[in-house]
């Protein structure tokens, strides 16, 4: 997987590469040179001797170009960027309602279960009269915040531990044993346990998800670093007395950018999904913190009533869009960031 929609792109690039090669061959063997010229010794030219194998290859340029060739991924990138921007702008738009206010009609009765589009509620209201539209966006904010925080912690801790584990030989045994023990702990279990014991809230969920999330990242980085640690260019850097920090940041980590970004992009949807799960079991976020998990959970209990299904439907659609987008963007970016795919 991860080659989603990519095969055609690769084949196309290979074809254009083939064309270029033939072109070049034709030029080199162009009949402008006479037979005699072709078989004489070339003069020594200082300028030509100095010429290195220079190419205008730029890593990020090629990565972005490869990424933007993937139409599906670009579509989802636009969708997710628009959505992100909107979640932040939404509270400041005119005519938006507070997600927590309970709306009453003129007789003081709550305006509950208002149909979408009626009485100025874009997506209607829920069973106690709160505006569903603003609740969905507030929930998206909470869920995205959880997702991004977990991904960030996973990246920072995972990279730190992975680099130490892979590069410092003395620590290898310690970290390997630690990993072997921690890796056996099921993540669902830890999530349930922490959420059960600590006070429910956003920070509890983030903490529980961060506790084991970095393990996979650390191990992957460690394995990669062991492979490239003693390559000649790193050996050369060490011999020249370049500080370890510089070797790590300039020689080792750039090599791993694609994997790091992919894991981060995939950590976001899984964190959001976990929040939905924990909230469903009843140890997630309290009801006054709107989140996609809360909304879906409330909607689910109204599933049997056909007229109220919109309360389940809208949050599920938003959640599905977010997770699928991150998943596809993550995979496509990882493919694009792999230099093997920069056929040029």
């Amino acid at each position: 997987m991860g080659k989603f929609g990519f095969k055609s792109y690769r084949r196309q690039m290979e074809e254009s590469l083939g064309d270029k090669l033939t072109e070049q061959l034709k030029q080199e063997l162009s009949p402008e040179m006479s037979e005699e010229e072709l078989f004489t010794f070339a003069d020594f030219d200082t300028e030509n001797a100095e010429r290195g194998g220079y190419s205008d290859y730029s890593y990020w340029g090629s990565t972005l170009r490869a990424f933007f060739q993937n139409k599906v991924a670009v579509f989802f990138l636009i969708v997710i960027l628009a959505m992100l921007a909107f979640t932040f702008i939404q509270p400041y738009l005119p005519g938006q309602k507070d997600p927590l206010t309970i709306h009453n009609n003129e007789w003081g009765l709550p305006l509950n279960n208002v149909k979408p589009g009626e009485q100025g509620f874009i997506l209607g209201t829920n069973s106690i009269g709160q505006d569903l539209w603003s609740r969905i966006w507030a929930g998206t904010r909470t869920s995205l915040f959880i997702g991004f925080s977990v991904a960030l912690v996973e990246a920072v801790v995972g990279i730190l531990v992975g680099v130490l584990w892979g590069y410092v030989r003395k620590l290898d045994f310690f970290f390997t044993e630690l990993y072997n023990i921690l890796d056996n702990i099921p993540q669902t279990l830890l999530l349930i346990l922490i959420s059960y014991v600590l006070k429910p809230g956003v920070s509890t969920i983030i903490f529980a998800l961060c506790l084991t999330g970095w393990l996979g990242m650390a191990r992957f980085i460690r394995n990669q670093i062991i492979i490239i640690r003693d390559r000649d260019y790193n050996l050369a850097s060490r011999c020249l007395g370049i500080p370890t920090r510089r070797i790590v940041f300039k020689n080792l980590l750039p090599y791993l950018v694609s994997v790091i970004t992919m894991r981060m992009a995939l950590a976001i949807p899984s964190a959001i999904g976990n929040e939905v799960f924990v909230t469903y079991i009843g140890i997630g976020l309290p009801l006054d913190t709107p989140s996609l998990g809360n909304l879906i959970n409330t909607g689910r209990s109204l599933m049997t009533m056909a007229s109220l299904r919109y309360q389940l439907f809208f949050p599920v659609v938003v959640l599905a869009i977010i997770t699928i987008s991150f998943y596809i963007i993550g995979n496509a970016f990882a493919d694009a960031a792999d230099p093997k795919n920069h056929v040029k």
Partner: protein
């Protein structure tokens, strides 16, 4: 080999010890309401008396020691809220068969559908339009990217509320002894693992198919069906063997989500109920079973893999897999 297995077993024991200790200490930090059926109505002296009986006023190391002693005798304690005074062993013995039956059925379904799907996709990568591969990839991306909550709810919703589902007679909740009510939970339980098995089998098979010995077989003129059956599939399946003991053991725990969604009276549903009603001893026992089962599953998986695949060398340093 023996050395490897001993080392692996010792490490699992250590992990189990760490998890159980952490679990025990964490649950002692919980409010004490979780040990009483009707905490609000009790007087302070009654509460203290009960705490003394349960041994909860002892210092923590002593409690831990007693807990381990109790565990080694195979006693998980008694439930204090969910079913007052009933031994947890009894509750578990009653719930486990339900989860096991459901889980084994779904495991069979996911292997029977997931593996052929993976083979089909892998073979289709060699065909011209790769239609099988593309369709399979779309299915896998959707199942992988959607949180499981979403597709479980969608399956329940579409199955029991849409007109087609109603016509077939699917029900929203599970009923013992009515085979038709098994269908929706089984779909929910299997769909994730179908995608999982198909995805990994496809990837391993594609990797395997690019190896030199396969090329040689092709060049020799071995029929491609035979290549994919007896060379590619056989080697590609080895890494997946590792997960099978784990899947079988974890069926004992059931699925938290699906079981409580369809109110199946199994282990997963029990854990959710115990958490919602804050029955501390029950939560402790169930989490403990869950942890032990999954550690045991990983252990068996590693050992099985070592037996199945003769290429795995034991002199190699562990962790550099």
């Amino acid at each position: 080999m023996a050395k490897y297995i001993i080392k692996r077993v010792l490490r699992s024991l250590l992990t189990m010890f760490i998890i159980i200790t952490i679990l025990f200490c964490l649950l002692r930090m919980m409010p004490i309401e979780g040990y009483f059926e009707n905490y609000d109505k009790m007087t302070e002296t009654q509460i203290q008396a009960k705490l003394n009986v349960l041994g909860l006023n002892d210092p923590l190391p002593k409690q831990l020691w007693n807990f381990y002693k109790q565990l080694l005798q195979g006693d998980l304690g008694t439930s204090n809220v969910y079913r007052v005074g009933v031994s947890i062993n009894e509750i578990v013995a009653e719930k486990m068969p339900v989860s096991l039956r459901m889980g084994l059925m779904s495991l069979c379904i996911s292997l029977c559908l997931g593996l052929p799907l993976g083979i089909l996709m892998a073979r289709s990568t060699r065909s011209r339009f790769q239609i099988g591969d593309r369709l399979g990839t779309v299915f896998i991306v959707i199942v992988q990217a959607l949180p499981s909550a979403v597709y479980h709810i969608l399956i329940q919703f579409l199955g029991s509320q849409s007109s087609v589902g109603k016509a077939i007679g699917f029900k929203m909740l599970f009923e013992e002894g009515e085979p038709i009510t098994y269908v929706l939970p089984l779909i929910s339980l299997s769909i994730g693992s179908i995608a999982y098995y198909a995805m990994w089998l496809r990837r391993y098979m594609v990797d395997e198919a690019n190896k030199d010995y396969i090329r040689l077989a092709r060049a020799k003129g071995v029929p491609s069906a035979k290549i994919s059956r007896s060379h590619v599939f056989r080697n590609a399946f080895v890494p997946l063997v590792q997960y099978i003991p784990n899947s079988i053991l974890l069926t004992l725990m059931g699925s938290l989500y699906v079981e409580s969604l369809y109110s199946i009276p199994g282990m997963g549903g029990l854990l959710v109920t115990a958490i919602k009603r804050q029955d501390n001893t029950l939560v402790q026992a169930l989490v403990l079973i869950y942890a032990v089962l999954s550690i045991l599953g990983l252990l068996l998986g590693d050992i099985l893999m070592a037996i199945v695949d003769p290429r795995i060398s034991f002199s190699k340093k562990e962790g550099s897999r």
